[in-house]
């Protein structure tokens, strides 16, 4: 078997904790002479001593692992830049701080949210949380620091949240379309994001501003893989613009429009969300709301790390922060005045 700290101690003729102090810097009130330090290092090298990380994790109840939880996970899709961007932000915060990123949808999908808080992670980044009280409770009382990414204020009291300012974003979208002369607009979202707190929030914001601007509107649940445009662009439902939940979904709508011979933006204006590089590749190029995904992820992760490293009492008592990110509208080619 591998050499343990005690083997090293014995071989060097010192105590185990002297070794621990020298090699790992533990124990503040302990001092080891330089000569002994040298000896210990030498012996450790000779014995090929390697600390057992599991033992240290156990002893310290600290793993240097942060769990990234996707409540609705469908894999990384090749054409959607969202996830890579988000993960980049997370890694940009974690790696320099010496943390490892753990990804584990399974642990949550099993309904075993508690399992995620069994000590294996020092903290949890909970992305795209859904709305259910069960989810909220299991994370709130899990005993491990949790930060939410893409959760609007109020979705889970007590849990810090980092989120796009969907309200402002939808106001900008509605105003843009209204100023172009659109009078009837549909909001399209597919079933999975419709379950998330952010999906609900964005939808509600859209409805509120549309109503406020006296614009007729509809909300349509759509399967993005094959959007049925006739559901909202028809005699009965003559929408001239569609606001999609995501760029990916907006892209599918553009394709469907092309297939159906509907001109964009003449007959139909389309707006996406994320303003990723994808928007430059569509035909026509997609008008979309920009949110700084990578930065949001980095900020959320850094905040989580401060929670991990501060005493629990500090963050429990200081109350949860909600950070809202301003989102501007990148106007490209897919929106224009309706031709009637």
């Amino acid at each position: 078997m591998r050499a343990t700290i005690r083997d090293v101690a014995e071989a060097a003729g010192v105590s185990a904790m002297a070794v621990s102090k020298v090699l790992h810097g533990r124990g503040t009130n302990v001092r080891v002479s330089d000569a002994k330090s040298e000896l210990i290092r030498k012996v450790a090298r000779e014995l090929h001593y390697r600390p057992n990380q599991n033992a240290r994790n156990f002893r310290n109840q600290k793993t240097n692992l942060i769990g990234v939880v996707f409540q609705h996970f469908e894999g990384l899709t090749e054409d959607n830049p969202y996830l890579p961007q988000m993960l980049n932000g997370v890694m940009a915060a974690l790696f320099p701080a010496g943390y490892t990123m753990g990804i584990c949808p399974k642990l949550v999908l099993d309904g075993s949210a508690p399992a995620i808080a069994d000590g294996r992670f020092d903290g949890i980044l909970w992305t795209r949380p859904d709305f259910s009280q069960a989810s909220v409770d299991s994370f709130r009382y899990c005993g491990v620091p949790v930060v939410m990414l893409h959760a609007p204020p109020g979705s889970a009291e007590g849990i810090p949240a980092f989120c796009a300012n969907n309200d402002l974003a939808m106001e900008r979208v509605v105003d843009h379309l209204a100023s172009l002369g659109h009078k009837k607009i549909a909001f399209v979202i597919d079933p999975i994001p419709a379950l998330t707190a952010e999906g609900v929030s964005r939808k509600n914001a859209f409805c509120r501003y549309a109503k406020d601007r006296e614009i007729q509107f509809d909300v349509i649940l759509s399967d993005q893989s094959d959007p049925d445009l006739s559901a909202y662009v028809s005699q009965d439902r003559p929408h001239t613009a569609i606001v999609a939940y995501s760029d990916t979904q907006a892209g599918a709508i553009l394709k469907a429009a092309e297939a159906a011979g509907i001109r964009v933006p003449g007959e139909l204006s389309v707006v996406g969300f994320d303003s990723s590089s994808f928007c430059e590749r569509t035909q026509p190029k997609l008008t979309s709301v920009f949110q700084p995904v990578e930065q949001m992820a980095r900020d959320a992760t850094n905040y989580l790390l401060t929670m991990v490293n501060d005493a629990e009492s500090t963050w429990r008592e200081s109350g949860a922060v909600t950070s809202l990110y301003d989102c501007h509208l990148d106007i490209r080619e897919s929106t224009g005045p309706p031709t009637s």
Copy 2:
């Protein structure tokens, strides 16, 4: 503090090990009556008992965590579908088996390859390994199962490897270009992949087949962000075709050609590698070698899991497997006969 297994045992009036048996199924030679099982479960629920995962990891020396190591990691780039595809394959294998994916370039970049084998991971998927003997040794003798992804046969004896058949791929590429009439071809690779075992292997295969087909060739190290086409398309060096290490790099070359007013494929044919969705988005569409990245990653990960779950002696003695994946050439628009 949280209830421990002993708290439960005491409250239920049984031994700790009975609780362990009932709740975790440990201890084969132990039997607990149904009545007691029920009682134990009930008490555990009442006390909100949650097993301490770190304690279990420590005791069992098993973490259900697989480490994915990127030796040369530059983040997930928005436009390169490779990494998402690869990670999808890994996750497709890990999650159903109940494993978590740990990502940790830092642990390796620190030169602390041993750290990766300190028990925190049950196994390591080592992607894009470089060639250095130090790397090879530290992984080979790390005491944890290791599988390499994208490493050609022979790069590290004793470590199972999953890799594209670069040899066959380059033969196909060279034959394709030769049959179109190209007489002078350059292989372009940028500095980072040039350090990896696969980069070297692919380059060598290219040279071998070019020589064999009596085609003039050059190998050029290029910074892909700004390829200097004059380095290989000029009076002195009249290459009519370029074989790039990756799609991303081929894309950069297409852009540079457009900027320089060089017609593709007329004046210059370009071939990529991966045949990802990216190839459909370039102008002209990119001819490229297809490798089944997601499947390779899934296979490699599944193999790693079998190593994790079998006794070490089994895989130590059975010798390392190398799986080579056949790669076909997807001919699109970026290759054609040279116009002279």
